[in-house]
Protein backbone atom coordinates (compact mmCIF):
# COMPACT_ATOMS: atom_id res chain seq x y z
CA UNK A 1 0.00 0.00 0.00
CA UNK A 2 1.37 3.41 -0.95
CA UNK A 3 1.75 6.14 1.67
CA UNK A 4 -0.93 8.31 0.05
CA UNK A 5 -3.57 5.53 0.05
CA UNK A 6 -2.63 4.56 3.63
CA UNK A 7 -3.00 8.21 4.70
CA UNK A 8 -6.38 8.60 2.97
CA UNK A 9 -7.81 5.44 4.56
CA UNK A 10 -6.71 6.58 8.03
CA UNK A 11 -8.07 10.07 7.36
CA UNK A 12 -11.52 8.79 6.40
CA UNK A 13 -11.61 6.20 9.20
CA UNK A 14 -10.53 8.78 11.77
CA UNK A 15 -13.15 11.23 10.52
CA UNK A 16 -15.93 8.74 11.24
CA UNK A 17 -14.32 7.75 14.54
CA UNK A 18 -14.27 11.40 15.59
CA UNK A 19 -17.82 11.98 14.34
CA UNK A 20 -19.28 8.99 16.19
CA UNK A 21 -17.12 9.63 19.22
CA UNK A 22 -18.44 13.14 19.60
CA UNK A 23 -22.08 12.18 18.88
CA UNK A 24 -22.05 9.46 21.52
CA UNK A 25 -19.73 11.19 23.98
CA UNK A 26 -17.29 8.30 24.01
CA UNK A 27 -14.46 10.31 22.47
CA UNK A 28 -12.73 9.94 19.14
CA UNK A 29 -9.61 8.01 20.02
CA UNK A 30 -11.84 5.11 20.89
CA UNK A 31 -12.01 3.16 17.66
CA UNK A 32 -8.69 4.45 16.34
CA UNK A 33 -6.54 1.75 17.97
CA UNK A 34 -8.69 -1.17 16.68
CA UNK A 35 -8.91 0.50 13.24
CA UNK A 36 -5.14 0.88 12.95
CA UNK A 37 -4.16 -2.48 14.40
CA UNK A 38 -6.92 -4.77 13.09
CA UNK A 39 -7.65 -3.21 9.70
CA UNK A 40 -4.35 -1.64 8.68
CA UNK A 41 -2.02 -3.96 10.65
CA UNK A 42 -0.16 -1.07 12.24
CA UNK A 43 1.93 -1.99 15.29
CA UNK A 44 -0.01 -1.30 18.49
CA UNK A 45 2.71 1.04 19.82
CA UNK A 46 2.18 3.45 16.92
CA UNK A 47 -1.60 3.08 17.31
CA UNK A 48 -1.43 4.03 21.00
CA UNK A 49 0.78 7.04 20.22
CA UNK A 50 -1.51 8.33 17.46
CA UNK A 51 -4.64 7.79 19.54
CA UNK A 52 -3.16 9.72 22.45
CA UNK A 53 -2.39 12.69 20.19
CA UNK A 54 -5.94 12.70 18.81
CA UNK A 55 -7.33 12.55 22.35
CA UNK A 56 -5.42 15.72 23.25
CA UNK A 57 -6.75 17.51 20.15
CA UNK A 58 -10.43 16.67 20.67
CA UNK A 59 -10.37 17.21 24.42
CA UNK A 60 -8.66 20.61 24.12
CA UNK A 61 -10.91 21.68 21.25
CA UNK A 62 -14.17 20.89 23.01
CA UNK A 63 -12.94 21.97 26.45
CA UNK A 64 -12.34 25.43 24.97
CA UNK A 65 -16.07 25.74 24.27
CA UNK A 66 -17.30 24.21 27.55
CA UNK A 67 -15.00 26.28 29.77
CA UNK A 68 -16.39 29.52 28.35
CA UNK A 69 -19.95 28.41 29.10
CA UNK A 70 -18.98 28.10 32.77
CA UNK A 71 -20.15 24.49 33.21
CA UNK A 72 -16.67 23.03 33.81
CA UNK A 73 -15.58 22.97 37.46
CA UNK A 74 -11.99 24.19 37.01
CA UNK A 75 -10.97 23.72 40.67
CA UNK A 76 -12.30 20.17 40.79
CA UNK A 77 -10.54 19.45 37.49
CA UNK A 78 -7.22 20.86 38.71
CA UNK A 79 -7.41 18.92 41.97
CA UNK A 80 -8.23 15.61 40.28
CA UNK A 81 -5.54 16.21 37.65
CA UNK A 82 -2.98 15.48 40.40
CA UNK A 83 -4.39 11.94 40.44
CA UNK A 84 -4.83 11.51 36.67
CA UNK A 85 -1.41 12.87 35.65
CA UNK A 86 0.38 10.80 38.31
CA UNK A 87 -1.60 7.77 37.10
CA UNK A 88 -0.84 8.52 33.43
CA UNK A 89 2.88 8.78 34.14
CA UNK A 90 2.74 5.43 35.96
CA UNK A 91 0.77 3.86 33.09
CA UNK A 92 3.26 5.05 30.47
CA UNK A 93 6.15 3.63 32.51
CA UNK A 94 4.29 0.33 33.08
CA UNK A 95 3.61 0.01 29.33
CA UNK A 96 7.26 -0.93 28.73
CA UNK A 97 7.00 -3.98 30.96
CA UNK A 98 3.62 -5.30 29.86
CA UNK A 99 3.54 -7.56 26.76
CA UNK A 100 1.47 -6.02 23.94
CA UNK A 101 -1.08 -8.85 23.78
CA UNK A 102 -2.09 -8.12 27.39
CA UNK A 103 -2.47 -4.46 26.45
CA UNK A 104 -4.74 -5.47 23.54
CA UNK A 105 -6.91 -7.62 25.82
CA UNK A 106 -7.14 -4.90 28.49
CA UNK A 107 -8.06 -2.34 25.83
CA UNK A 108 -10.83 -4.62 24.57
CA UNK A 109 -12.25 -4.98 28.08
CA UNK A 110 -12.18 -1.21 28.71
CA UNK A 111 -13.82 -0.55 25.30
CA UNK A 112 -16.72 -2.88 26.11
CA UNK A 113 -17.09 -1.36 29.58
CA UNK A 114 -17.19 2.15 28.11
CA UNK A 115 -19.70 1.15 25.45
CA UNK A 116 -22.03 -0.17 28.16
CA UNK A 117 -21.46 3.00 30.20
CA UNK A 118 -22.49 5.16 27.23
CA UNK A 119 -25.86 3.37 27.04
CA UNK A 120 -27.02 3.96 30.58
CA UNK A 121 -29.61 6.58 31.41
CA UNK A 122 -28.42 9.94 32.56
CA UNK A 123 -30.45 11.52 35.33
CA UNK A 124 -29.32 14.83 36.73
CA UNK A 125 -28.56 14.61 40.43
CA UNK A 126 -28.06 17.52 42.75
CA UNK A 127 -26.57 16.78 46.16
CA UNK A 128 -26.31 19.46 48.77
CA UNK A 129 -24.85 17.73 51.82
CA UNK A 130 -21.58 19.35 52.82
CA UNK A 131 -18.42 17.25 52.67
CA UNK A 132 -15.45 18.33 54.80
CA UNK A 133 -12.85 17.94 52.06
CA UNK A 134 -15.04 19.45 49.38
CA UNK A 135 -15.38 22.55 51.57
CA UNK A 136 -11.65 22.73 52.32
CA UNK A 137 -10.75 22.35 48.65
CA UNK A 138 -13.51 24.76 47.52
CA UNK A 139 -14.91 22.12 45.16
CA UNK A 140 -18.60 22.93 45.61
CA UNK A 141 -19.82 25.13 42.82
CA UNK A 142 -22.71 26.06 40.58
CA UNK A 143 -23.52 25.81 36.89
CA UNK A 144 -25.89 27.54 34.50
CA UNK A 145 -29.03 25.71 33.30
CA UNK A 146 -32.14 26.78 31.40
CA UNK A 147 -33.91 27.13 34.78
CA UNK A 148 -31.16 29.35 36.23
CA UNK A 149 -27.99 28.76 38.23
CA UNK A 150 -27.90 25.48 40.17
CA UNK A 151 -25.65 24.94 43.21
CA UNK A 152 -24.20 21.51 43.90
CA UNK A 153 -21.88 19.80 46.38
CA UNK A 154 -19.16 17.24 45.80
CA UNK A 155 -19.24 13.94 47.75
CA UNK A 156 -16.58 11.34 48.66
CA UNK A 157 -13.56 13.36 47.53
CA UNK A 158 -11.09 10.63 48.59
CA UNK A 159 -12.90 7.85 46.74
CA UNK A 160 -13.13 9.92 43.58
CA UNK A 161 -9.44 10.78 43.81
CA UNK A 162 -8.42 7.11 44.04
CA UNK A 163 -10.67 6.24 41.08
CA UNK A 164 -8.96 9.02 39.09
CA UNK A 165 -5.52 7.50 39.72
CA UNK A 166 -6.87 4.29 38.20
CA UNK A 167 -8.38 6.19 35.23
CA UNK A 168 -5.02 7.91 34.71
CA UNK A 169 -3.08 4.62 34.71
CA UNK A 170 -5.40 3.16 32.06
CA UNK A 171 -5.15 6.32 29.99
CA UNK A 172 -1.36 6.21 30.08
CA UNK A 173 -1.20 2.48 29.45
CA UNK A 174 -3.72 2.27 26.60
CA UNK A 175 -3.48 5.69 24.96
CA UNK A 176 -7.16 6.47 25.46
CA UNK A 177 -8.87 9.37 27.25
CA UNK A 178 -10.64 6.95 29.63
CA UNK A 179 -13.43 9.51 29.84
CA UNK A 180 -15.95 6.80 30.77
CA UNK A 181 -13.99 6.00 33.95
CA UNK A 182 -13.58 9.66 34.80
CA UNK A 183 -17.29 10.30 34.40
CA UNK A 184 -18.02 7.16 36.46
CA UNK A 185 -15.81 8.46 39.27
CA UNK A 186 -17.46 11.88 39.30
CA UNK A 187 -21.01 10.64 38.63
CA UNK A 188 -21.46 7.69 40.92
CA UNK A 189 -18.82 8.31 43.58
CA UNK A 190 -18.61 12.08 43.90
CA UNK A 191 -22.25 12.57 42.84
CA UNK A 192 -21.78 15.60 40.64
CA UNK A 193 -24.46 16.70 38.12
CA UNK A 194 -23.98 14.88 34.81
CA UNK A 195 -23.31 17.97 32.70
CA UNK A 196 -20.58 19.11 35.08
CA UNK A 197 -18.93 15.67 35.29
CA UNK A 198 -18.89 15.24 31.50
CA UNK A 199 -17.37 18.65 30.79
CA UNK A 200 -14.93 18.50 33.71
CA UNK A 201 -13.81 15.02 32.65
CA UNK A 202 -13.25 16.32 29.13
CA UNK A 203 -11.29 19.24 30.58
CA UNK A 204 -8.97 16.83 32.43
CA UNK A 205 -8.43 14.41 29.54
CA UNK A 206 -6.04 16.73 27.65
CA UNK A 207 -3.63 17.20 30.57
CA UNK A 208 -3.84 13.51 31.48
CA UNK A 209 -2.99 12.46 27.92
CA UNK A 210 -0.20 15.06 27.73
CA UNK A 211 1.43 13.57 30.86
CA UNK A 212 1.88 10.21 29.13
CA UNK A 213 2.40 11.66 25.62
CA UNK A 214 5.65 13.29 26.79
CA UNK A 215 6.90 9.78 27.60
CA UNK A 216 5.65 8.18 24.37
CA UNK A 217 7.04 11.02 22.28
CA UNK A 218 10.54 10.22 23.47
CA UNK A 219 10.06 6.48 23.03
CA UNK A 220 9.17 6.88 19.36
CA UNK A 221 5.51 5.80 19.67
CA UNK A 222 4.30 8.99 18.02
CA UNK A 223 5.04 8.53 14.33
CA UNK A 224 4.33 11.65 12.22
CA UNK A 225 3.13 9.68 9.17
CA UNK A 226 0.44 7.88 11.21
CA UNK A 227 -0.44 10.59 13.75
CA UNK A 228 -0.97 13.27 11.07
CA UNK A 229 -4.05 11.75 9.35
CA UNK A 230 -5.40 10.45 12.69
CA UNK A 231 -5.33 13.77 14.49
CA UNK A 232 -6.69 15.77 11.53
CA UNK A 233 -9.43 13.22 10.79
CA UNK A 234 -10.59 12.81 14.38
CA UNK A 235 -10.63 16.56 15.03
CA UNK A 236 -12.66 17.40 11.90
CA UNK A 237 -14.99 14.48 12.67
CA UNK A 238 -15.50 15.67 16.24
CA UNK A 239 -16.18 19.22 15.00
CA UNK A 240 -18.87 18.08 12.57
CA UNK A 241 -20.29 15.87 15.31
CA UNK A 242 -20.71 18.81 17.66
CA UNK A 243 -22.40 20.80 14.84
CA UNK A 244 -24.91 17.97 14.32
CA UNK A 245 -25.54 17.69 18.08
CA UNK A 246 -26.71 21.29 18.21
CA UNK A 247 -29.44 20.53 15.66
CA UNK A 248 -30.59 17.07 16.69
CA UNK A 249 -31.26 16.32 20.33
CA UNK A 250 -31.85 12.62 20.72
CA UNK A 251 -29.29 10.15 19.50
CA UNK A 252 -30.52 6.99 21.23
CA UNK A 253 -30.25 4.63 18.26
CA UNK A 254 -26.85 6.06 17.36
CA UNK A 255 -25.51 5.15 20.80
CA UNK A 256 -26.68 1.59 20.23
CA UNK A 257 -25.04 1.40 16.81
CA UNK A 258 -21.80 2.74 18.18
CA UNK A 259 -21.91 0.48 21.23
CA UNK A 260 -22.36 -2.57 18.98
CA UNK A 261 -19.53 -1.48 16.65
CA UNK A 262 -17.23 -0.84 19.62
CA UNK A 263 -18.12 -4.18 21.24
CA UNK A 264 -17.39 -5.98 17.96
CA UNK A 265 -14.01 -4.26 17.57
CA UNK A 266 -13.23 -4.86 21.23
CA UNK A 267 -13.89 -8.60 20.99
CA UNK A 268 -11.61 -8.70 17.94
CA UNK A 269 -8.90 -6.97 20.01
CA UNK A 270 -9.37 -9.48 22.83
CA UNK A 271 -9.37 -12.44 20.41
CA UNK A 272 -6.21 -11.26 18.63
CA UNK A 273 -4.61 -10.58 22.00
CA UNK A 274 -5.36 -14.09 23.23
CA UNK A 275 -4.05 -15.84 20.13
CA UNK A 276 -0.99 -13.58 20.32
CA UNK A 277 -1.45 -11.85 16.96
CA UNK A 278 -1.11 -8.37 18.48
Amino acid sequence: MSVIIFTLIILIGSYFAGLLGSLTGLGGGFVIIPLLTLVLHVDIHYAIGASLVSVIATSSGSAAAYVREGITNIRLGMFLEIATTAGAMTGAILAVYIPTHYIAILLGVILIFSAIMSLRKKAEQIVEEPNKWALKLKLNSSYPTAQGTVNYSVNKVGGGFVMMIFAGILSGLLGIGSGALKVLAMDTIMRIPFKVSTTTSNFMIGVTAAASAVVYLQRGYIDPGISMPVVIGVLIGALSGSKILVHTQSSGWLRWVFAIVVTFLASQMIYNGIIGKI
Binding site: V42, D43, V214, Y216, R219, G220, G225
Partner: protein, 129 residues
Protein backbone atom coordinates in the same frame (compact mmCIF):
# COMPACT_ATOMS: atom_id res chain seq x y z
CA UNK B 1 -3.58 51.42 45.08
CA UNK B 2 -5.90 53.70 43.17
CA UNK B 3 -7.74 50.95 41.40
CA UNK B 4 -8.15 47.43 42.62
CA UNK B 5 -7.34 44.77 40.05
CA UNK B 6 -9.76 41.94 40.51
CA UNK B 7 -9.32 38.73 38.59
CA UNK B 8 -12.31 36.42 38.77
CA UNK B 9 -13.09 32.85 37.82
CA UNK B 10 -14.97 34.06 34.76
CA UNK B 11 -11.84 35.86 33.52
CA UNK B 12 -9.86 32.66 33.99
CA UNK B 13 -12.47 30.71 32.02
CA UNK B 14 -12.12 33.16 29.13
CA UNK B 15 -8.32 32.98 29.17
CA UNK B 16 -8.23 29.18 29.38
CA UNK B 17 -10.76 28.83 26.57
CA UNK B 18 -8.68 31.16 24.45
CA UNK B 19 -5.39 29.32 25.16
CA UNK B 20 -6.92 25.95 24.26
CA UNK B 21 -8.54 27.22 21.08
CA UNK B 22 -5.44 29.01 19.75
CA UNK B 23 -3.22 26.05 20.72
CA UNK B 24 -5.33 23.55 18.79
CA UNK B 25 -5.77 25.78 15.72
CA UNK B 26 -2.06 26.65 15.45
CA UNK B 27 -0.74 23.13 16.06
CA UNK B 28 -3.19 21.40 13.72
CA UNK B 29 -2.46 23.93 10.96
CA UNK B 30 1.25 23.13 11.30
CA UNK B 31 0.54 19.37 11.25
CA UNK B 32 -1.59 19.88 8.11
CA UNK B 33 1.13 21.88 6.37
CA UNK B 34 3.76 19.29 7.27
CA UNK B 35 1.41 16.55 6.07
CA UNK B 36 1.09 18.10 2.62
CA UNK B 37 4.87 18.41 2.28
CA UNK B 38 5.33 14.84 3.54
CA UNK B 39 2.77 13.40 1.09
CA UNK B 40 4.20 15.42 -1.79
CA UNK B 41 7.65 13.96 -1.18
CA UNK B 42 6.85 10.46 0.08
CA UNK B 43 3.29 9.80 -1.13
CA UNK B 44 4.28 7.08 -3.56
CA UNK B 45 6.53 5.12 -1.26
CA UNK B 46 5.29 1.94 0.38
CA UNK B 47 3.71 2.37 3.84
CA UNK B 48 4.96 -0.22 6.30
CA UNK B 49 4.24 0.08 10.00
CA UNK B 50 3.84 -3.59 10.86
CA UNK B 51 6.91 -3.69 13.08
CA UNK B 52 7.70 -1.20 15.82
CA UNK B 53 11.00 0.47 14.95
CA UNK B 54 10.50 3.86 16.62
CA UNK B 55 10.57 7.03 14.53
CA UNK B 56 13.11 8.22 11.93
CA UNK B 57 16.43 9.31 13.47
CA UNK B 58 16.29 12.91 12.29
CA UNK B 59 13.16 13.68 14.35
CA UNK B 60 14.28 11.93 17.55
CA UNK B 61 15.85 14.95 19.19
CA UNK B 62 14.55 18.53 19.63
CA UNK B 63 17.61 19.77 17.70
CA UNK B 64 16.86 17.37 14.86
CA UNK B 65 13.25 18.54 14.67
CA UNK B 66 14.29 22.22 14.55
CA UNK B 67 16.83 21.46 11.80
CA UNK B 68 14.14 19.53 9.94
CA UNK B 69 11.63 22.39 10.24
CA UNK B 70 14.21 24.86 8.89
CA UNK B 71 15.02 22.41 6.10
CA UNK B 72 11.24 22.16 5.34
CA UNK B 73 11.08 18.41 5.92
CA UNK B 74 7.48 17.21 6.19
CA UNK B 75 7.86 14.74 9.07
CA UNK B 76 9.80 17.26 11.18
CA UNK B 77 7.09 19.90 10.65
CA UNK B 78 4.35 17.40 11.60
CA UNK B 79 6.27 16.40 14.71
CA UNK B 80 6.75 20.06 15.63
CA UNK B 81 2.99 20.60 15.33
CA UNK B 82 2.31 17.53 17.48
CA UNK B 83 4.68 18.78 20.17
CA UNK B 84 2.83 22.13 20.19
CA UNK B 85 -0.44 20.20 20.52
CA UNK B 86 0.88 18.21 23.50
CA UNK B 87 2.09 21.49 25.00
CA UNK B 88 -1.38 23.07 24.72
CA UNK B 89 -3.02 21.48 27.80
CA UNK B 90 0.23 21.96 29.74
CA UNK B 91 0.15 25.64 28.77
CA UNK B 92 -3.44 25.68 30.03
CA UNK B 93 -2.22 24.50 33.47
CA UNK B 94 0.45 27.23 33.46
CA UNK B 95 -2.19 29.87 32.71
CA UNK B 96 -4.46 28.46 35.44
CA UNK B 97 -1.56 28.74 37.87
CA UNK B 98 -1.13 32.41 36.96
CA UNK B 99 -4.89 32.86 37.32
CA UNK B 100 -4.87 31.37 40.83
CA UNK B 101 -1.92 33.62 41.75
CA UNK B 102 -3.97 36.66 40.63
CA UNK B 103 -6.98 35.37 42.59
CA UNK B 104 -4.62 34.93 45.59
CA UNK B 105 -5.84 31.36 45.96
CA UNK B 106 -2.71 29.89 47.53
CA UNK B 107 -4.07 26.35 47.86
CA UNK B 108 -4.80 26.13 44.14
CA UNK B 109 -1.48 27.71 43.18
CA UNK B 110 0.12 24.76 45.00
CA UNK B 111 -2.22 22.22 43.39
CA UNK B 112 -1.50 23.56 39.87
CA UNK B 113 2.25 23.61 40.56
CA UNK B 114 2.05 20.00 41.73
CA UNK B 115 0.36 18.99 38.45
CA UNK B 116 3.12 20.79 36.51
CA UNK B 117 5.76 19.04 38.63
CA UNK B 118 4.25 15.61 37.83
CA UNK B 119 4.29 16.37 34.09
CA UNK B 120 7.90 17.55 34.41
CA UNK B 121 8.92 14.36 36.21
CA UNK B 122 7.10 12.34 33.55
CA UNK B 123 9.09 14.12 30.82
CA UNK B 124 12.35 13.31 32.61
CA UNK B 125 11.37 9.67 33.19
CA UNK B 126 10.59 9.26 29.49
CA UNK B 127 14.04 10.55 28.67
CA UNK B 128 15.66 7.94 30.85
CA UNK B 129 13.47 5.05 29.63
Amino acid sequence: MAQKISFKDTDMQAVIGWVLRIGVIVSISIVFLGGIIFLYRHGHEIADHKKFVGIPDFIRTPGGIIDGVIGIRGQAIIQFGIILLIATPILRVIFSTIGFVLEKDRLYVCISLLVLLIIFVSTISGHAG
